[in-house]
Subunit: 230 residues, 2 copies
């Protein structure tokens, strides 16, 4: 197993449904980012996940698959971790426990050594993950703090993930999440497209996740976000 | 704090909504049971919970309150533990996470040192807890094992509770639950009204819970269930 995920400051999220130009993978893996997370909400299949995995696996950087559905949680032996999310702020039990149940129900044995449970708090209602999971994104600081407390103290999730997917979040909300955490590692993801934003969220969360910038802003922006937190 | 709850073999569940005859409390606390759990699904109020607590608290036996709603989770300093349940086999998110969220959202600080999260798998559809939580009780062994796995390995509940509330369960189902557990303590509750039943479920689960027998069969039956597991 690769380096301890608890020490990562910067994770780059790659979407199996998005196209990377030639040479991009080499630039990303040498950007200084601590790990690659292969993750997407829509149109992720075993095939495009496999294709992306084949593109990135030779470089020795820690690899995480974050499955959106049980059929993508199958890459034991090829990845360092499966980060398996559960959405806290939804009333749709499928995204809290239902898919996890189906995963265990239909799997042979699961290699729990590589599984890291993640509590997601989804805060962009217009994002794919917000729409698909029916998350209640109209949360005040106090509401987020309560969900974080349940995730951290009651369910004992090792990761709490504040997910603004596609849009830059409210630092006050992320700070409320950080203040409410006793044990978990706090992830922030969403809309980081500059060194300043990376530094701001990186000063509050333990780990920042940069995704769209890779596809839309290029390698220089990715490198700047790395430098801002390391 | 009292003796480690992980070592309890026999717990007696008392319902604040039910009447105990004079002298019954003294007989119960001297029966050899390891702890008293104050718990009910219907008509539990701060008042009748307080009344029952006052009746039992002088005897030095470990006391647990298992709140069915956040307003009954208030007896810090007077009880050894709050066992806080979450129902795994329901599609109603309120019983998985919603009430827990409301508890944290509306509480000042919570004394997490006394909180023990419990994963409930509810298997009697005709019981109050089955009806109120909308639990899907038509589960095969493999289904129960999958819910137990999610509770134990994914959510990391310290207690998994197989709840047949009011009716004696299927030992094969309880055995499937036991086989699926890696870390958690397994509780069995439901319909134990004889030494034979106590011995049978006690040989599979770590802890058996006896409830209705106290009210309907008397102290000799309670004592017999204690002797059967100790």
């Amino acid at each position: 197993m690769h380096a301890n995920w608890k020490t990562w400051a910067h994770v780059t999220k790659l979407d199996p449904d998005k196209h990377l130009p030639p040479g991009a993978v080499e630039e990303i893996v040498t950007s200084g980012t601590d790990a690659l997370m292969l993750s997407g909400t829509l149109n992720v299949t075993q095939e495009n996940l496999r294709e992306l995995l084949d593109m990135v696996s030779a470089y020795g950087l820690p690899l995480v698959v974050e499955p959106a559905s049980p059929d993508c949680a199958i890459f034991d032996g090829e990845v360092d971790h499966l980060f398996v999310p559960s959405v806290m702020n939804t009333s749709d039990a499928r995204w809290i426990i239902g898919k996890h149940y189906a995963w265990l129900r239909n799997s042979g044995s699961i290699n729990w050594d590589i599984v890291v449970p993640e509590a997601y708090i989804v805060l962009n209602p217009a994002s794919a993950v917000g729409r698909v999971t029916g998350a209640d994104c109209t949360l005040a600081k106090e509401d987020v703090a309560a969900f974080v407390g349940v995730a951290d103290r009651y369910f004992r999730f090792p990761i709490v993930y504040i997910e603004y997917s596609g849009t830059y979040g409210d630092p006050d909300i992320v700070r409320a999440a950080s203040d409410a955490i006793e044990h978990a590692i706090l992830y922030y993801g969403g809309g980081i497209r500059s060194a300043e934003q990376a530094a701001e969220m990186g000063s509050i969360a333990d780990t920042i996740v940069v995704g769209n910038a890779v596809y839309e802003d290029g390698i220089d922006v990715l490198r700047a976000t790395v430098r801002a937190v390391q």
